[in-house]
């Protein structure tokens, strides 16, 4: 019985390591599919989760930012009240 128990402990250890290795492997596969590598992870800025002005999701975060593109979209619309379209609030890519 003692030898059996020690072999059980050995099997448990091996399988626990195999499990963790599998989880790491799967996580790495998913991250690789997303185009995220170790090199890109080390060069990530820490504020990538918040709404940054230079994020590619959307630049429209406040009505004040509309003053620059508005003349291009509607050249005669600077004085007309009907063209004041309030922008929809944009969410970040995580939907928070």
């Amino acid at each position: 019985m003692k030898q059996m128990r020690s072999r059980f402990r050995l099997l448990t250890l091996l399988l626990a390591c195999a499990f963790l290795l599998t989880v790491v492997l799967c996580a790495g596969s998913v991250l690789r599919s997303a185009g995220i590598t170790l090199a890109s992870l080390s060069s990530l800025s820490p504020l990538s989760g918040t709404a940054t002005p230079d994020s590619t999701a959307s630049p429209k975060l406040s009505p004040g930012a509309e003053t620059t593109p508005a003349p291009e979209a509607s050249p005669a619309g600077s004085g007309l009240p009907g063209t004041d379209i309030s922008p929809e609030p944009e969410y970040n890519v995580f939907g928070l």
Partner: protein
């Protein structure tokens, strides 16, 4: 010390119930679906009732029970957002599975390694595997149930008759699985057999011939029966990435596979990769608890049964993860307890029930030893 254990257990149970309620409540508030509100009340209540009553009345291992209930709740949540009707049917399947868990927990306390146990369980297990060969129209998937019953026979034969008869019975089951074409189940069963033979006996004259038999059978099966590839596996990593770290509002089409019994893609699609990864990690404490029940079992029969059940669960988890991401060129493995297949869910909860029963028996033996020591002192 007992008060500390009770308060830790209370906190663990409370946290599990709160998380399970939030898992349904947040989507219910977002979508306004009445069925999700019903699930937000039903699932935590059932978890609480089953987790406390069953553990107390039948002396089952509480941690294993709560982990299994939590995984069942996650399976219901995976269906809830995209298919609320199916999500309402899943608790019924889980209920049937809990009946199988109870049956396993009660059975393991009353069973002993007798010739009757060995012969009856071997006969039932081999008959379930041969059913498809005898009646080809019988398409009910009973491989996992058969393996659970055959594990009883293997442990009983090994404890009573020795390794040779147990290995022969195991090889017969392996051959039947390969002839049926269930390559994944055959690989899992073969691996469990070899590990149990190594752990319980360890003699090279037993382990090496068994390894040779398993390799020859698997090689012959691969030659005679070509293995179909995993059709959806190659696209799954990209599909999982599309779900994002915290899930998508609408399930990507490639993740809502209509004929798939696995709930892993749906879970990743709705709740994201972080939650899915944490859920997968819960299988590790399940395995560790099961193997600790095996190590502390008093008899060889219970030790092998507990270790075999733990190995079946953990190897199935590994196979499911590897085949989902195309590391294994095989299909057909679902994560344990995260499936809509009723026979498979019942078989897996039966294995958990065996573990709960053996762990409960170990605690009872320890308490009896402490009582005897107190009387002697």
């Amino acid at each position: 010390m007992n008060k500390q254990r009770v308060s830790a257990r209370f906190r663990f149970t409370g946290a599990a119930l709160l998380l399970s309620a939030l898992m349904f409540l947040v989507p219910a508030v977002q979508s306004g679906d009445q069925r999700l509100y019903l699930l937000a009340v039903l699932v935590p209540c059932l978890m609480f009732l089953c987790g406390t009553l069953l553990a107390r009345v039948f002396s089952l291992d509480r941690m294993l029970l709560m982990l299994s209930l939590w995984l069942c709740a996650v399976g219901i949540a995976a269906l809830a957002l995209s298919d609320p009707e199916a999500a309402l049917a899943q608790p019924l399947r889980c209920g049937a599975g809990l009946a199988a868990l109870l049956a396993g927990g009660i059975l393991v306390r009353s069973l002993s390694p007798s010739l009757l146990t060995s012969v009856c369980s071997a006969f039932i297990g081999l008959l379930l595997l041969a059913g498809k060969l005898i009646a080809p129209s019988f398409a009910f998937p009973l491989e996992q149930a058969a393996l659970a019953i055959l594990l009883l026979s293997f442990s009983s034969l090994f404890a009573r008759q020795g390794p040779v008869s147990a290995a022969l019975m195991g090889a017969a089951a392996l051959a039947l699985l390969l002839v049926r074409g269930s390559i994944m189940e055959a690989l899992l069963w073969g691996s469990v057999l070899l590990m149990l033979l190594f752990a319980a006996d360890g003699r090279l004259m037993i382990v090496l011939p068994s390894l040779a038999v398993v390799l020859i059978l698997v090689f012959a099966a691969f030659r005679l029966f070509p293995v179909p590839g995993a059709p959806a596996g190659s696209a799954l990593p990209d599909a999982l990435v599309s779900a994002g770290a915290f899930g998508a509002d609408t399930l990507p089409e490639v993740l809502s596979l209509p004929n798939s019994e696995s709930l892993l893609p749906r879970l990743a699609g709705h709740y994201g990769l972080v939650f899915t990864g944490l859920t997968v990690l819960l299988f590790l404490p399940l395995f560790l608890r099961g193997s600790s029940a095996a190590v502390y079992a008093r008899t060889r029969f219970h030790a092998m049964l507990a270790m075999g059940a733990s190995l079946l669960l953990v190897l199935r988890t590994l196979a499911a993860l590897l085949s989902a991401l195309s590391f294994l060129p095989l299909s057909g493995a679902d994560l344990p307890l995260l499936t809509v297949s009723l026979p498979d869910l019942c078989a897996q909860l039966f294995l958990v029930g065996l573990l709960c029963g053996i762990s409960g028996r170990n605690d009872a033996d320890l308490a009896e030893d402490a009582h005897l020591a107190m009387l002697a002192g």
